[in-house]
Amino acid sequence: MKKMLAALLATTLVVASLVGCGSGNKETTAAKSGETTAESTAEAANVDGGTLKLSVTTGDGSTTDDKIPTPWYNRIMATNLMFRALLIADSDLTNPEPDLAESVEVSEDGLVYTIKMKEGLKWSDGEALTVEDVQWSIETALKAATCNSIYTSAFKKIDNMAVDGSTITMTLTEPYASMKDVLAQFAILPKHSLENADPLTLESDAFWTNPVCSGMYTLDELNVGNYFTLKVNENYEGTAPKIQSIICYFVQDYITAAQAGQADYVFGNAADLVEALEAMPNYTEHEVDVLFYKYFLFNMKGADGNENEAMQNVEVRKALIEAIDRATLATLYPTATVLNSGVPNSNEAYNGFEYTFDAEKAKADLVAAGYDMSRTLKICYYNNDQTSIDLIQTVVHYLEQTGLTVEATLSNDGTTDLFTTRNYDIGFKGKSAFSIDEWYTEYQSSDALFANVFGGTDEFDELVNNLFKATDSAARNEALKALQEKEQEVVYKVPVFTVGTYVFTSDKVVIPEGVTFCNPLYMCDLDFANWEMAQ
């Protein structure tokens, strides 16, 4: 019996010491395994330029592991290498240079776009890539169910498109200042393979198991549930890339993938991911300047006119925000910058207003506003990473401090629960925005998603349109200031902070000088042709 107990104790200790403590020991072994893998890749590199390893997460339920994810929703590294746009942006996602297009001319009044395509472009299957594909892609994106709103809100402004030889002319109903930036993100898809597909289910068409590509790489093999590999696209007209093949694993989480050597490129903003990767000596960190908003939105009124009684009083909404210490919440993230409107505090257009934290005042204000304290306040959120869960729990705690009864629900399907079911008072959301403009488009009465919670009010429409039309910075700043005043007056949604995003690259890959990473959910010029595997 004693022997048995002793053995039990010993086993437990051994396991605990193997996993938990002994961080010094850990580093040496990690470095060792790094060395061996580096050696083996170096060997391979001598033969064919090496293999880059990427990972795609499927753990959050947003992507499935039996096809290539559509580039019309999020742009990720793997699909960026397979599908190109007419233009390609710099790391700020602006100042686009020609890519598939040879030139894009904009008329003086900002209404007519003349796009001339490069000659002799080919898809990976040998078919010609023409203006027909461009026209089809833009028209289909407007009908597609899964499509990023930056495309739909821009393409809605297109009045007509005329095709002539290798030139396409788009006429807009009104100027849209960021049209070229949007075109630099929008992946052109092959009409000849997809024209018979239903736009509503385009992202699940069989095409995505064997796509026809326009980028440097094309699909080599898709192994459902496990990985897909990319090979160099022979029909790519630009400089051939040095890396000959890419493996993209379907994984449940990035940290394990990185630690197991399955990802040479990883990105994220959650505290645990950044902390874990910073602790790995074989990864280089690149901080990326992105507008990733985390924000609260109040469930005001449905498109059907159904009001949420409890949230109608603007003083209640203000008091709820006063009760939350956003600066402290920010410390949950590696870098998070508190802001008070869609415009970051550091931006010259910021109007200087601040939501301050004052628990006592919040308490008094709630009482003064006549809020029924016995009512349960409902919070709905959908990110299931540990940092988000931690954040919401802290928010619940803050609100409870003012005497409220609070219930937070983790939604399985954020879009449905926030905009269709609407069984909540405060929603918590994230948005990796393409630009500040995207924050304000959510207020438009034509935004069918947000019209479901803001009641389709048109009070912002004119102000937002002024922003779209503003071509010079003075007009733009003015438009932004007016929008900030308005949103701080009505308090429909309140940003908590923007979170800093990080890209990590392993030491198995050598990135050329001068490359700056952009928002990893969009596309920019990373000079990928000159990336190399370490020798």
Partner: protein, 295 residues
């Protein structure tokens, strides 16, 4: 009437001496005693923690991810809540889940098993089929449906599902015992005297099946605690505002917690493992004492 009382009395004294003998036998099994001690100590500690009202819910973000020490016996979790308090209160809920579900599912299993075994025939067939249907259901799907229907990830859901899907093993066992016991002479005698069927089933036969029921109830406590942890891990457990060992241990999902903040997962993990271990030891001891076949 007088005679029956005296039989009862003699039964009583016989059973009390049997009880003493059993206790002695149990005390000789040191592992089982150790198990019992651990169970009692952990349960009492958790209940005291709950009664004293340790602060398990206040996040102190400036204190997050503190290693053990500095006023935090087990350290703090990812938003600076005291882990010791959480493990204590979580223990209350986990043990509650385990005990409640084990007892309830045994009660249901025993009643249905008695009915099926005693009456046999059609009743038996229907109940057996029902039990097979329940056994074939993936628990996960039931939990998901319930969460979606009542729109809440509450403790009640979990208790309901566990009881709902957990009674079949006891049911089978009790049914089989009843099948063989109902042909015993004493049952026939009772029947001949015109005793009520419910009396025969629950007052005469059931006491003879109690031992295996008690043993399986004990080990089921451990089973349900582990089950709760597994459901929490998949994200279908109790909402995080109600701490359980399972959802505290959930932090182990985050790889960086596993490698950098061992205390966040080791302590709840140890609590679960130790408690389950103790129950298994205790259950083994009980089986040795109570199970007639082993004697």
């Amino acid at each position: 009437m007088g005679e029956t009382t005296s039989i009862k009395d003699s039964n009583k004294s016989a059973s009390s001496s049997l009880f003493k003998r059993n206790v002695r036998k149990f005390m000789n099994n040191k592992l089982a005693v150790l198990g019992l001690v651990i169970i009692v100590v952990i349960t009492i500690a958790c209940v005291i923690g709950m009664i004293v009202g340790v602060d398990y819910g206040t996040p102190v973000i400036t204190d997050m991810k503190q290693a053990p020490g500095n006023g935090h016996f087990f350290g703090t979790d990812t938003i600076g809540r005291d882990l010791f308090a959480r493990v204590l209160v979580g223990g209350c809920y986990s043990i509650l889940i385990g005990a409640f579900c084990a007892i309830m599912s045994s009660v249901i299993g025993a009643i249905l098993g008695a009915l099926a075994g005693y009456f046999g025939g059609k009743v038996d067939m229907v109940l057996i089929r029902i039990s097979e249907i329940f056994q074939a259901f993936p628990q996960l799907v039931l939990v998901m449906m319930l969460v979606a229907i009542v729109n809440k990830r509450g403790l009640g859901n979990l208790l309901f599902i566990f009881v709902f899907t957990g009674w079949m093993t006891t049911f089978r066992m009790v049914r089989n015992e009843f099948m063989s016991l109902k042909n015993e002479t004493y049952v026939k005698v009772c029947e001949a005297f015109g005793m009520k069927k419910s009396n025969i089933m629950f007052k005469q036969i059931l006491p003879n099946v109690m031992s295996p029921i008690i043993v399986s109830t004990t080990t089921n406590v451990a089973f349900f605690i582990l089950q709760e942890a597994a459901l929490s891990f998949i994200g279908l457990g109790v909402a995080d505002s109600t701490p359980t060992w399972g959802n505290i241990l959930n932090a182990a999902k985050s790889v960086s917690v596993v490698t950098n903040q061992w205390w966040i997962w080791v302590f709840p993990g140890l609590a679960i493992s130790l408690f389950v271990l103790a129950i298994n030891f205790f259950g083994d001891g009980l089986r040795d004492v109570l199970d007639a076949k082993q004697q």
